[in-house]
Amino acid sequence: MATATLESHDTHDDHGHGTSTGISNTKLAMWTFLGSECLLFGGLISTYLLYKTRRGPGPDNTTIPTDIFDIPFTSVSSFVLLMSSLTMVLALSALTRGDNRATRAWLLTTAMLGGVFIGGQVYEFTAFLREGVGFTHNPASSAFYTLTGFHGVHVSLGIVMLMSLVVASKQGKLTPKNTETVEVVGLYWHFVDVVWIFIFTVIYLIPTE
């Protein structure tokens, strides 16, 4: 027991052996972190809800994002993001089976689906900009870009993590012994997806005015 406790430093705290709860340190840390993230997005979503219909006072800043949404387009890119949760699960199960090639393939697919989602977001942002609805346009647009932007940054960080896993796997460092690393990245990825369901509902599905 004593030795087990000793060995739980940073990354090499093996799969929860020797921790008081039986959950490994890294996984518990990720859960804790995600708890905190709930309030981050909670704050951003509340801000958006407060501002979503606030048009600017002048003649040129009265258009708000809601006026120009392309809901079918965003629905498709949301679907793509949700599918990436599935491929993430498949990556983990491939690793558990010890199938490295499949693991890499699924990780890459997940990252790619995330990339498609980000691409869709970039497209949406530029479309809005063309309509003249930029970040500083009015309170509603500031809130829109902040909320979706924060989410986009989270997805992008997730893609970086996935790509690091792919590299680690190529170098042979990702073996069935490290399923936990993939699980922890997976937790983050699923969280980001679930948050998007909320954001999508709040922004695009609940009618305004």
């Binding site: 430093h9 840390a29 704050g43 407060l50 970040f135 809130a143 902040t146």
Partner: protein
């Protein structure tokens, strides 16, 4: 390194250093002076660094407080201009809250939690170093606004919009506020995650949650408050930053922005923040009072549950800071009620401390005096707090000196006095010598009397109608006398602090002639007192097995047939002797420091020149990358093994001793 099989070959690190390309950033091996401190991942050293830095900022915030009091000593003060006055009281509040009380609590948490739960370190030692360095870089960044930002922030510590917008605060002070607190917030978030995982996961065998010492318990609640409160202020600070730096439209009423949003977000964070300040002190008091009353804490589980209740209820009351902001009568009534309820668990705590002292064999040491003083002052602050919970009364008192009196009684009287008590209590454990008790009592009484002289009269001033945050007042309102008394009081506090620093200096000098304090100078109750003072790097020779609350006390005392307490073991018999071999500890690393150094550069970049962002970002990125590639344990470092090579007593090891002394001198 894995459990050391061979005795170490390297104690000086020269060979290995020569082999490495990184020069100054080579991992230090063995205690080699300042590099050891800059790269340490030892929770005890990190705790000491937090403590030293926090005391430094206490002096800074204290000087700001004295400037305020000099200005207000007499009517029509000319000492500070109105602009500078605004900056000084804002930076005073910000410094005291974010750069003194919180990091001092973090100092105790870092040093003590692993020892109290029987762990060799925190769950993520390198992240622990990272949070210290990030906090420090945020703190330094924030204070450089005096020199490069055209002055400090001038919008009050809660920086209400639209005062904090560019229109009303055109200098860069508020940008420094937004970015500096953002950086410091990252540190607290990482720290909170680390300590939560540590407490939940790293407990020694037998240390169930309901056997944990009260200090660890209340710190755990505090960390959860941080975990959930910080992201809310993070959101607020981001919005403010976007408004100021990138012309977003969040808080500008002219274009449809809503200044009340800032108030809501700020106080959803800000009220729990009050408990983030006070609960660590409650935890400290809950260790000191039982020790010096020679009784177990009264109603342990009540103490735990009331702590948890305070943690929960702290969330439901934020809008009592906003009764006069126009949030509507229903909200006002609801928040008024919820605020009065929170007095209940707090009252439970006070009764438990009193019941613990009741019938106990009380020893009035300095630490005990501080604790009793904290309970008394906090009670006064709590009572005046309940009077604000009544919305009609608050409408009269808000933004007067009555409020200034109230919150200083709570956060200085309840929070800071408790922390200073903790300093006297744990000082011998941390530095290996006792603070002089006689000087300590002088120190305590000066601070207590000065405190009451300073803040007591502010109740009167407030009821007389003196507003807070005014840079001066006219004669003839009856404000002169009490302001003068308050200013005299504030210099008495300052004198008390000087006595504290003198005490540390003198006690250190005298320590050579006095017997070493040994592991347990106070005959205390929890596990940190079972290890030598100062604590060896590996904490415990053997990881303790815990059988109950107050484990350490029960190893020393038992009961005879008549249920009387009898000594069953001496301290020496029960204590660990500091001679473990083959202990494996994480290796030091410079990357946390480098990573943290990048963040203020990004901050300056956002304010002044985006190229600095690129440099800062690159530095941070390189540090992250190198961190990820650096093995947690340096396979050929010998840093923690100076206990394995025949030195049984850590004090025999010259390098170890130097490091600890350096801490004590730089200390205070």
């Amino acid at each position: 390194m894995a459990i050391t099989e061979e005795p170490l070959a390297l104690t000086t690190g020269e060979t290995a250093a020569a082999a490495r390309p990184l020069g100054a950033l080579t991992r230090p091996q063995g205690g080699n002076g300042w590099r050891d401190w800059l790269s340490t991942v030892d929770h005890k050293k990190i705790g000491i660094m937090y403590g030293v830095a926090a005391m430094f900022f206490f002096v800074v915030g204290g000087i700001e407080a004295l400037l305020i009091r000099i200005q207000l000593a007499a009517p029509e003060g000319q000492f500070l201009s109105a602009e500078v006055y605004n900056q000084v009281f804002t930076m005073h509040g910000v410094t005291m809250v974010f750069l003194f009380v919180m990091p001092l609590a973090a100092a105790f948490a870092n040093y003590l939690i692993p020892l109290q739960i029987g762990a060799r370190d925190v769950a993520f030692p390198r992240l622990n170093a990272l949070s210290f360095w990030i906090w420090l870089s945020g703190a330094i960044f924030l204070n450089t606004s005096w020199f490069v930002g055209g002055g400090g922030a001038d919008c009050g510590w809660f920086c209400y919009s639209p005062n904090s917008g560019v229109a009303f605060s055109p200098s860069n002070g508020v940008d420094f506020y937004a970015l500096g607190l953002q950086i410091a917030g990252i540190a607290s978030l990482i720290g909170a995650i680390n300590l939560i995982v540590t407490v939940l996961n790293m407990r020694a065998p037998g240390m169930s949650l309901f056997r944990m010492p009260m200090f660890t318990w209340l710190m755990l609640v505090t960390q959860f408050l941080l975990l959930f409160a910080l992201p809310v202020i993070t959101v607020a600070l981001f919005l403010l930053m976007f408004d100021r730096l990138f012309d977003a439209q969040f808080f500008n009423p002219e274009t449809g922005g809503d200044p009340l949003l800032w108030q809501h977000l700020f106080w959803i964070f800000g009220h729990p923040e009050v408990y983030i300040i006070i609960l660590p002190s409650f935890g400290i008091i809950s260790e000191i009072i039982p020790t010096f009353s020679r009784k177990p804490i009264f109603g342990y589980s009540f103490m735990v549950f009331s702590g948890i209740a305070i943690g929960f209820m702290g969330w439901g009351v934020w809008a009592h800071h906003m009764f006069v902001s126009g949030i509507g009568p229903f909200s006002v009534a609801a928040f008024s009620l919820s605020t009065m309820f929170i007095a209940v668990p707090t009252g439970v705590k006070i009764l438990n401390w009193l019941a613990t002292m009741w019938g106990g064999k009380i020893r009035l040491t300095t630490a005990m005096l501080y604790s009793v003083g904290a309970v008394a002052m906090f009670t006064i602050g709590g009572v005046s707090g309940v009077t604000h919970a009544l919305a009609p009364a608050d409408t009269q008192q808000t933004d007067t000196y009555y409020i200034v009196a109230h919150f200083h009684y709570v956060i200085f009287g309840g929070g800071v006095l408790g922390l200073l008590g903790g300093l006297y209590f744990w000082f011998p454990k941390i530095f290996g010598f006792m603070l002089n008790e006689t000087i300590g009592k002088v120190n305590f009484w000066l601070i207590l009397i000065g405190f009451n002289l300073t803040f007591g009269p502010m109740h009167v001033l407030g009821l007389q109608g003196m507003s807070r945050r005014i840079d001066t007042y006219s004669p003839g309102f009856g404000f002169e006398l009490w302001n003068l008394v308050a200013t005299i009081g504030s210099f008495t506090i300052a004198a008390g602090m000087l006595v504290l620093f003198f005490n540390i200096w003198k006690s250190k000098r005298d320590a050579a002639d006095l017997p070493a304090p040994g592991p347990d100078p106070w005959d205390a109750r929890s596990l940190e007192w079972s290890v030598p003072s100062p604590t060896p790097e590996h904490n415990f020779d053997t990881v303790p097995v815990v059988e109950g609350v107050d484990e350490w006390w029960h190893r020393k005392y038992g009961y005879d047939e008549d249920k009387r307490v009898v000594r069953i073991a001496t301290i020496e018999e029960a204590a660990q002797d500091g001679s473990a071999t083959g202990v494996h500890l994480p290796a030091p690393s410079f990357w946390p420091l480098v990573l943290a150094a990048g963040l203020p550069l990004i901050g300056y970049g956002l304010i002044f020149n985006l190229w600095l962002c690129v440099i800062g970002g690159a530095l941070t990125g390189i540090a992250m990358y190198s961190w990820a590639l650096e093995p947690v344990d340096d396979p050929d470092a010998g840093h923690d093994d100076h206990h394995d090579d025949g030195h049984d007593d850590p004090d025999d090891d010259p390098e170890h001793a130097t490091a600890v002394t350096a801490g004590a001198e730089g200390g205070e």
